[in-house]
């Protein structure tokens, strides 16, 4: 009997280990706690969450994953992530109609959950940006005739975590000096990151005919 029990434990252990092959752990912070989490079209089983912060950890396949948060009377929030680059995601659904607004107002815990999830989303975004652009810690740089900072890129809609370097300089020679400083002090090549030049009028901008 003891042998059978141990065998069952071993089989369960082997099965559990095999089921994790090719998978990685993903932490999903979501709000409201009553919404459904869907990963690549499959609803994830979980208990209803009434705590201030709702987090669900799941094992998912490595690579690109489409994750959605669905709830009646609320907007669906969908994120496409690469689990090789990040192991955490935040999903927030907001009211999409008067019934959703009423539910939101009548349940204080839902308001708290959405507020906390928004804070978590901001923190994750900041962490991702620091990891992707380690030179940010050295900015702003104030040189002779120029300032180097950073901000949103021109293509941030397709890549929300993307950053551009901003150069504030009034003369061409100062802009050239700022580019040299970016290479020498930040160790960044202009080939690798967008540089946006404030106070610079580009006569060729959006004028391809």
């Amino acid at each position: 009997m003891g042998f059978v029990f141990i065998s069952i434990i071993i089989v369960i252990g082997i099965f559990t280990m095999l089921s994790k092959v090719g998978k990685t752990s993903l932490s999903i912070t979501y709000a409201p706690g009553d919404a459904d989490i869907v990963i690549d079209g499959k609803k994830i089983k979980r208990n209803r969450c009434t705590e201030d912060v709702c987090v669900k950890k799941v094992n998912v396949k490595k690579g690109i994953q489409n994750i959605s948060l669905n709830m009646v009377n609320f907007n669906t929030d969908t994120k496409r992530i690469n689990t090789n680059e990040t192991n955490e995601v935040v999903l927030i659904s907001t009211p999409s109609n008067p019934a959703g607004e009423k539910y939101y107002k009548d349940n204080e815990y839902v308001q708290q959950q959405i507020q906390n999830a928004s804070s978590a989303e901001f923190d994750i975004g900041s962490k991702n940006i620091s990891q992707k652009y380690p030179f940010i810690d050295k900015l702003n740089i104030y040189g002779g005739g120029y300032t180097i900072g950073y901000g949103a890129s021109s293509y941030s809609k397709r890549d929300p975590d993307s950053v551009a370097i901003y150069i504030e300089a009034s003369e061409p020679e100062y802009r050239e000096k700022a580019i040299e400083a970016i290479v020498s002090e930040l160790g960044v090549s202009p080939a690798d990151i967008e540089i946006i030049y404030n106070n610079f009028y580009n006569p060729f901008k959006e004028q391809v005919q």
Binding site: Y155, P172, A191, F204, K205
Partner: protein, 213 residues
């Protein structure tokens, strides 16, 4: 009794021999893997077995493990390789690289034109490039001239600078020849990056960002 013992011993020896043969056979078969190699404008491909992360500059210090001179499927020993591809003529450049049979089952090698070939092509293309820029930017190009221009890869990519005659900023420009027509691929700007234009070959963007002034 002695005859029976001898028979058993013989049986054990034969079984052991067959088992060893099987083990070595399986080991041999599993040590090889099939790689599809496609060569264009390559006269000879030399493969050198290497440790993980091998440096192509180490090539000259050893004999090649495999020599290949035409496209096809090849069974080669699993592992890491450094390779050197000799072009069919000096119009193309020698290609060096590395691959891992575990991750790369298809190897396509197509050398770019050599610098000399690209230079000679550029002199015949510059007029067409100038015309395309004048057509796309008729007002702007009155104040700029093309300089520090080069062709890249197969001669269908151009990158260079637009130098102003009024003391304003020098601008980078990148163009691509498609269907016989030169098209602007990146709006002329002080700097152009792969972040904004991921579809432009990185080699072109990297080179034009080595500022010549």
């Amino acid at each position: 009794m002695r005859i029976i013992n001898k028979k058993y011993i013989l049986l054990i020896i034969i079984t052991a021999f067959l088992a060893l043969l099987t083990v070595f056979g399986i080991s041999y078969l599993t040590s090889k893997t099939k790689i599809t190699i496609e060569l264009q404008n390559v006269s000879e491909l030399r493969l050198y077995e290497s440790k993980k992360g091998g440096d192509p500059s180490e090539l000259q210090k050893q004999e090649p493990s495999v020599n290949i001179n035409k496209s096809g499927e090849y069974n080669i020993t699993k592992g890491y390789y450094i390779y050197e591809a000799q072009p069919v003529s000096n119009e193309y450049e020698t290609v060096k690289g590395s691959f891992n049979t575990k991750e790369d089952k298809n190897l396509k090698i197509q050398p770019n034109y050599s610098n000399e070939k690209l230079k000679s092509l550029y002199s015949s293309e510059i007029s067409a490039i100038q015309l395309a820029l004048n057509t796309n930017y008729p007002n702007q190009m009155k104040d700029y001239k093309i300089d520090y221009g080069k062709l890249y890869i197969d001669g269908s990519w151009f990158a260079g600078y637009l130098i102003p005659n009024n003391g304003t900023d020098n601008l980078q420009v990148i163009m691509h020849k498609k269907g016989g027509v030169w098209e602007v691929k990146a709006t002329p700007n002080i700097t152009i990056s792969k972040a904004q234009y991921p579809e432009i070959p990185y080699k072109v963007i990297e080179s034009v960002n080595v500022r010549p002034f």
